[in-house]
Symmetry: C2
Subunit: 205 residues, 2 copies
DNA sequence: AGGTTGGGTTTCGCATACAATGTCCGGATG
DNA sequence: CATCCGGACATTGTATGCGAAACCCAACCT
């Protein structure tokens, strides 16, 4: 795995974990030194993170950890409300038994993580679950568009994970049931309910 | 404007114009020499183009111009069908008189381009129109997601531009009317009709 | 006192150089 | 004759160096 990709993963993790606060100036020299690499992989990683929306880029000024205001969070949920039900509907039509098994395995891991209060792992499992649904949709372009969105959603999810987690995973189970039954309409509806609930639970501005 | 961004624009243009065929191996040395820059800006540009989906990246093997198969085209239209009506609905609610004027200006330029048969310009105007609608929606996150999608759509649009253009721009005019009237429901419906028509007109596999 | 301008410092942007890996072709071998 | 191996070449990955633009702070002028 190229250093560049490791830098991408590491910096993204730092942002998602909250160790890099929004607005922070990502200085290439500093990052390179901290990660023990040269500036070149860092520069390329920053381009990728910029395209993913985790950092905002300003020519000749550098990269800054993106800020996600309350308004932008509502914007985010609007888009999610358009894409998630689509993914769920397609997944219900396209997913086979092995795909459903993958989802159920994630549900099980989430149940364990919830019992022992592993909030950080729970946030990652949430991302993994939604990304998996999109992958099961069989729509490659949707995956390209939605996976970065899911990653970005992880950022928001962490903020309300403790309060929302039980309901959230109950809704996930309902969605898996619908997909397992191959009921596209129901899956779409469950997905919509889930996103609306997530939006409602998000701390308002 | 940094060289890197100029390289992004130039290579993207080459791909959209069809001068770089799908599957072509983008060799950093060659590109750098052709564009008269060093490899470093080229490398960073390739990351951006990879994130935008115009090239597919393979570690240690390089970047290749993306191929858009017929199936992937249908995938693309599914996503577009989820996002475009959303953008149109939001734009109808948020766009002011100046925003509508911008759209009408694009319509006028397209009318001129169509009369003199400027197909290439027409394809760019199509992208500009749809991107503008998304921008008028006021949803910044939607813009981030949808603008790359529109660019990618330009790729498909060129293939059917001659046949579809008159109908397409008629539909665009209907959409602008709905936005101008602030009728969110109508705008959403017009947008949906437009995307469905585009999908139907696209050469099937 | 507030704004402005100047220089020093920081940081980005680009180029060049080197290392590592993948690819491809020719030859040896079963 | 097919197959496997090896080495040269091509290409990507990484590091370093230098020039230029932006930033910061202090001294100066209005």
């Amino acid at each position: 795995m190229p250093l560049r990709d490791m830098v991408v993963d590491e910096v993204r993790r730092l942002i998602l974990d909250g160790q890099l606060h929004p607005g922070t100036h990502l200085v290439e020299d500093r990052l390179a030194e901290q990660l023990g690499v040269s500036r070149n992989p860092v520069r390329e990683a920053i381009r990728v993170l910029g395209a993913e929306g985790f950092v905002t880029l300003s020519a000749r000024r550098g990269a800054f950890v993106a800020t996600l205001s309350a308004i932008e969070a509502q914007d985010f949920f609007d888009v999610r409300l358009a894409l998630e039900p689509l993914g769920a509907r397609l997944a219900a039509k396209a997913a086979g038994p092995d795909g459903v098994a993958q989802l159920e395995e994630i549900l099980e891991r989430a149940r364990v993580a919830m019992e022992i209060g592993e909030h950080s792992a729970l946030a990652e499992l949430n991302s993994e679950f939604h990304a998996r649904v999109f992958q099961l949709s069989g729509n490659e372009y949707l995956v390209c568009v939605a996976v970065p969105m899911v990653r970005r959603g992880q950022w928001l999810f962490r903020q309300s994970v403790a309060r929302r987690a039980p309901d959230s995973w109950t809704e996930h189970r309902s969605l898996v049931s619908a997909i397992k039954a191959g009921d596209a309409e129901l899956a779409e509806a469950e997905s919509r309910r889930h996103v609306l609930a997530a939006r409602a639970a998000f701390p308002r501005s």
